[in-house]
């Protein structure tokens, strides 16, 4: 199976009054049709910016270098016009905050149908019918009535369903969901995750799930990549990542996730602060917080090394030693 979306050596930097800041450094990823890739990291780890770059949505002071190919088409060198034929049509994105991500002065129906009208040149009537169909598919009750509502008349959960429906309108090959549940209530979160699982089963799309929550990834992703300070530190199948985490940061994240099946006395946290991107530690960016740190970590940056089963990680310490 070939990858629909391939990211190769992507670096994203922002120019600020205090100098350039690299939000993403030399990231390579790929995702196949029908597969769900979970991209995990703290806020500021560069996970969102990686895909903002793919969508051509970086802030104005941001620049991206490297390559991002959608089915062989390089997205980074595409101009706005070319990008517009791909965005919404072949690659779609679901954003974190459904409360502010819908245009407040447009009716839901129109916001949905305009994607189709733009890309597939259907007429308004067909667009509306397909929008209604899609609202039903994402299980929005009374879909017909909602078409003529404004976003503020819908709850957060419903709005996120609308966002998902919007992303699905053209049945894109790649769907990027950026923290789709973070802004929602816990019960609603579960419903949205169920919906995403359903989308994954029914469509042959590649799904990228960006989240800081390993629990979200566990149920949905086939493969998981972990980012720290703009770099991928570990990547592997969801089974490997959860059963045999090979990077101290991943282990830390796993330890932080509260579990019902294991009795612990207190919540575990990773000590120290998330890194300051303007002033990254030397060597391995994680070394100030790492409990396995050795001198080498402070001066050299570990490269990603392959282990078995496509599992890769960037750490100097032997896997066994780390995996206790």
């Amino acid at each position: 199976m070939t990858s629909v979306l391939e990211i190769d050596g992507l670096t994203v930097s922002f120019s600020t009054p205090d100098g350039d800041v690299s939000a993403v450094s030399d990231v390579s990823l790929s995702v196949e049709a029908g597969e769900c890739l979970g991209l995990v990291g703290e806020s500021g780890s560069g996970k969102s910016q990686t895909f903002m770059a793919a969508m051509g949505l970086l802030a104005d002071n941001g620049t991206a270098t490297g390559e991002i190919r959608l089915d062989g088409i390089d997205l980074l060198s595409a101009n706005e016009k070319k990008l517009n034929t791909l965005r919404g049509e072949r690659i779609a994105m679901i954003f974190q905050d459904p409360m502010t991500s819908l245009t407040p002065h447009m009716k839901i129906g129109r916001q949905l149908s305009e994607v189709l009208i733009e890309h597939q040149k259907v007429d308004a009537r067909t667009g509306r019918a397909r929008a209604l169909d899609m609202l039903n598919r994402v299980h929005i009750p009374e879909a017909e009535r909602r078409l003529d509502m404004y976003p503020h008349e819908l709850s957060g959960g419903l709005r996120q369903r609308v966002m998902i429906a919007m992303a699905l309108m053209c049945e894109p090959e790649v769907i990027v969901a950026d923290e789709p549940t973070t802004a929602l209530d816990v019960t609603v979160q579960a419903q949205i995750l169920d919906l995403l699982a359903e989308v994954k089963d029914n469509l042959d799309a590649a799904i990228v799930l960006i989240t800081h929550d390993l629990g979200v990834v566990a149920g949905l992703a086939d493969r998981v990549a972990v980012m720290y300070a703009g770099r991928i530190v570990e990547q592997g199948t969801v089974g490997d990542i959860f059963a045999l985490p090979a990077h101290p940061y991943t282990q830390g994240l796993l330890a932080c996730t509260p579990r019902l099946d294991v009795e612990t006395e207190a919540l575990v946290t990773i000590s120290g602060q998330p890194p300051n991107l303007q002033n990254l530690p030397s060597g391995c960016s994680f070394h100030p917080r790492c409990k396995y740190v050795v001198d080498q970590c402070k001066s050299e940056r570990p490269a990603l090394e392959a282990m078995d089963n496509g599992h890769i990680r960037a750490c100097f310490r032997p896997h066994v030693e780390v995996a206790q």
């Binding site: 969508m55 949505l57 517009n84 965005r87 954003f95 991500s101 002065h105 447009m106 994607v115 404004y150």
Partner: protein, 311 residues
């Protein structure tokens, strides 16, 4: 919506009453009276004049008398233009002011919004800085400087060329007579509207929903026009409310410079001459315009932002 409209009009009545009352008593606090002249009138003539206009009565009597007449639509006689009633004077002056004001408002919107939009879309480029410096100049060079300068240029320096323009008088609204006053009136408003449009559009372009619209692959023009523009216009409309009132109720300065018989000039002269009824009449007219235009602005909000409901 009609219920809302009516309710707002009903609320307007006490507001108008406050305006009338405050203006009435403030005017009377001002030193001097309407019949003061360089050579004082003989006391008996003064007494007769005052009696004729009811000014010899106690102030509260005059106040209620004025209110009573007002309810019957009578603004009273002008103290200074002795052959005219205030209604007649306003009837003459208001069309002049409103025509100039409307023309200036139209020009201000026509140029201000596109200028601000272009600056926003080219943010921090040379074109943006140039447009905004010009706009700032339009704001900080007051129109009582621009007016005389334009008059100097078109009325005197270019007097014998095809560009010569009349610099004074209304001439029954002849087109050339309107050009300079309207341009002068419009300039600062073009500048303000351009600045507000730019700032607001830049802010809107950073919203999440504009990002969503871009992520949908809509052409840039459509992102701007369909998704960003309506919200971006909200601050512009907020500004347009008072600006419209100011323009329509006559710019006193422009009417003074160009010698136009509008209500702005009547008001200033009335205030200086203690022409109580004329000042009251114009104030009431202006207050009614403020109330009406605020209502229009609020209804425009409801159209721009569906979250705003008629309460």
């Amino acid at each position: 919506m009609w219920a809302y409209f009516t309710r707002r009009l009903i609320i307007a009545i006490p507001t108008l009453w406050v305006v009338i009352t405050v203006a009435f008593f403030l005017m009377r606090l001002a030193p001097g009276g309407p019949f003061d002249q360089e050579a004082p009138l003989p006391p008996e003539i003064m007494a007769n004049l005052k009696a004729a206009y009811g000014l010899d009565q106690p102030l509260w009597w005059q106040y209620f008398n004025y209110l009573g007449n007002l309810l019957q639509g009578d603004f009273g006689p002008s103290f200074k233009y002795k052959d005219f009633s205030v209604t007649e004077l306003i009837g003459q002056g208001f069309p002049v002011s409103i025509q100039n004001g409307a023309a200036a408002l139209f020009i201000a919107i026509l140029f201000g919004i596109p200028l601000g939009t272009m600056a926003a879309l080219r943010q921090n480029t040379g074109a943006d800085h140039a447009a905004m410096t010009v706009a700032m100049t339009g704001i900080v060079v007051p129109n009582f400087v621009v007016g005389p300068l334009l008059a100097l240029i078109f009325g005197i320096y270019l007097r014998d060329t095809m560009f010569a323009l009349p610099v004074a008088g209304w001439n029954n609204g002849a087109f050339p007579n309107r050009i300079l006053p309207v341009i002068c009136l419009a300039l600062p408003f073009i500048a303000y509207i351009a600045r507000i449009t730019r700032a607001s559009l830049i802010e809107t372009l950073r919203t999440n929903y504009v990002r969503t619209a871009r992520a949908k692959g809509l052409p840039f023009r459509m992102v701007i026009l369909r998704h960003a523009f309506k919200s971006a216009m909200i601050p512009v409309v907020t500004y347009l409310g008072p600006a419209t009132v100011f323009l329509l109720t006559g710019s006193m300065v422009i009417e003074t410079i160009f010698g136009l018989p509008g209500i702005g000039r009547y008001f200033v002269q009335g205030a200086l001459n203690r022409d109580y009824t004329l000042v009251m009449g114009v104030t009431i007219l202006a207050a009614s315009m403020v109330i009406f235009i605020n209502l229009l602005v609020d209804m425009t909000y409801a159209w721009l932002d569906p979250k705003v409901r008629y309460e």
